[in-house]
Symmetry: C2
């Protein structure tokens, strides 16, 4: 499929390969969709939200109550992802995967696994059964929500979830907490040091320090060339989040339907890293929307073997970067569909 699409691109009125990344993007979408006529349909942006017990440990600049407030904001159309999804002509789906207090907001899907996770400092964030339920919920959401959409963009909201993302990244790639932790939505130096210590203690508390049985083989272990063969579900249960588990499931479900998965910032990417640990072929279905200013995001993108489309120093999450990148995907496919060939346009292509 890739070769056929590149051959079509090579007939267009431009020197071969001169649209660089835009041509590669068109080929990638075609390969994921297994179609020589790739299309986006109406893109779907799915934002999964849940609360994190670890937020009580002072790892975020915002209180947990903001998770629910922002979910209402997504549904009302006032958040960044609301604006950017509209701009991209995408449908926004907001999912409550376990916000602390149940929401009564119209338009938010109720897929609650529990009232927020437990603190990973005191044991596993969730039970193994809940981790599996989160994954299955995501797989079911992909089946139910994608409809005619041929691309899905993943976003998240959950105060404290960049701490969970860092812990997942450390457990799955062997990265050091000091490298995997960033300022999230706005920590100062002291807050950042606290976050690093919390992640290190959480990993230890859950038996996820290097050499632990669940982590075989050791770091950096998850690459497209060296699939992870540790206990990814156990890691998700220990230091993950409900919304991250659901996102991992959506990625698996979408990939299984040949739908490209456009991933956003650090938490969404770490969620997909869990999915990739379960399904080593998953990275072939992913497109990285951007590289955020979170240092750990780079680690995850490298582990997944992905080159991001944008480098805008975003650090908001909620799928904002993925929604921002959607028009680039649409542009790549329009190049394939709408450009004239040398022959049709009467342009001399002897120079090729």
């Amino acid at each position: 499929v890739g070769r056929a699409v590149q051959a079509r691109l090579d007939l267009k009125t431009k020197p071969r390969g001169s649209l660089g990344g835009l041509e590669r993007l068109a080929v990638r979408i075609a390969c994921i969709q297994r179609s020589e006529s790739p299309a986006l349909g109406t893109p779907v942006v799915i934002v999964c939200a849940a609360d994190h017990g670890v937020a009580a440990e002072g790892v975020s600049a915002y209180p947990s109550s903001v998770t629910a407030q922002m979910v209402a904001n997504y549904a009302a159309g006032g958040a960044a992802v609301s604006v950017l999804a509209r701009h991209a002509g995408a449908r926004l789906v907001v999912v409550d995967c376990g916000v602390a207090e149940p929401l009564a907001v119209p338009g938010v899907l109720d897929r609650r696994i529990g009232p927020g996770t437990a603190s990973m400092l005191r044991g596993a964030a969730m039970s193994r059964a809940q981790a599996i339920q989160a994954l299955e919920t995501g797989i079911a959401l992909a089946k139910e929500q994608l409809g005619e959409a041929r691309v899905v963009a993943l976003g998240e909201m959950g105060i404290g979830n960049s701490t969970s993302a860092a812990a997942l990244t450390c457990a799955l790639t062997g990265a050091d907490p000091a490298v995997a932790c960033g300022r999230g939505t706005g920590l100062d130096d002291e807050g950042l040091a606290r976050k690093v210590a919390v992640v290190a203690r959480a990993l230890e508390r859950n038996g996820l320090t290097p050499g632990a049985p669940s982590l075989t083989p050791r770091a950096p272990s998850l690459t497209p060339r060296a699939p992870f063969d540790g206990d990814a579900v156990g890691i998700l249960a220990a230091v993950g989040g409900f919304e991250l588990g659901v996102l991992a499931g959506i990625a698996l479900g979408a990939a299984g339907r040949n739908v490209p998965v456009l991933i956003d910032g650090y938490p969404a990417s770490a969620a997909v890293l869990v999915a990739a640990a379960l399904a080593p072929e998953l990275p072939g279905s992913l497109i990285a929307a951007h590289r955020s200013s979170e240092p750990g995001h780079r680690i995850v993108l490298e582990a997944l073997g992905l080159q991001p489309l944008l480098d805008f120093e975003l650090r908001l999450g909620e799928g904002s970067g993925a929604a921002l990148a959607l028009p680039l995907l649409a542009a790549a496919l329009k190049i394939l569909d709408e450009m004239a060939t040398f022959e049709a346009a009467g342009v001399d292509d002897s120079g090729r």
Copy 2:
């Protein structure tokens, strides 16, 4: 203006600065437009085309006849820039600034300075009077074509014009021809070596080697901090092109009307470098759409003090990269216009 717009962004439901480059882009557009309510209107993409005498020296993979063929393709809607301008909701304006054989293509503006330039290897590419005519033509085009548009994207077409861009870059920044020349639309190693030699000889033939009177002060001379005070019009006449002179004029005209100038690849950026040599405050009105795979493009962007929005390894020109970036500008302004404030959305902003 910038402070007022940033203050508005800081009230939106997101941690301060968390949309990184997107926020900076909104602020920049507002500052250029000198308006706290920046807007794009219907963007205009202007593609200027002309032929180059130097094309006969074997510096391009394509023959000069392709310039005219592609102009017809732009007007017919089949070229990359046609597709991407449509995708961005922009109006495409195609200008014949001096294609070798006059075109009879409906929808192409006739602003011919001459039937292609002379070879810069045998003297100046054009007369000083023609260089001034090109600049004035561009300034007039900005006045006449921008209308209600609040942003203009610049593109070019001209077989041989990346050689002209390299010579302009060397003359204006003191860069070495070996660094300023790239493969253009598809030269092999031998062709690239020939191009480097042609640029070096053209600079020498026109008295533009380092130390020449027209080049005071010496390289690298053109930066936002050290304005060029050599003879930029003479340099444009010696090694420029008709379409590049017109583009320089459009940039000057647009900036004078507080309209942001979105620049594309190497030739368009080198054209704007000429304009910046004439008007040292011009870079403040520029936005770089992307960094192309032409090595000299990086030199020009650095001389102009610009950070590109995209890094897609494009090397097509014709305004394709600028058109591709337009939806990012629109997204930045929608963030400013459409996002809810913390207060309006009832979101706790104590964390800021």
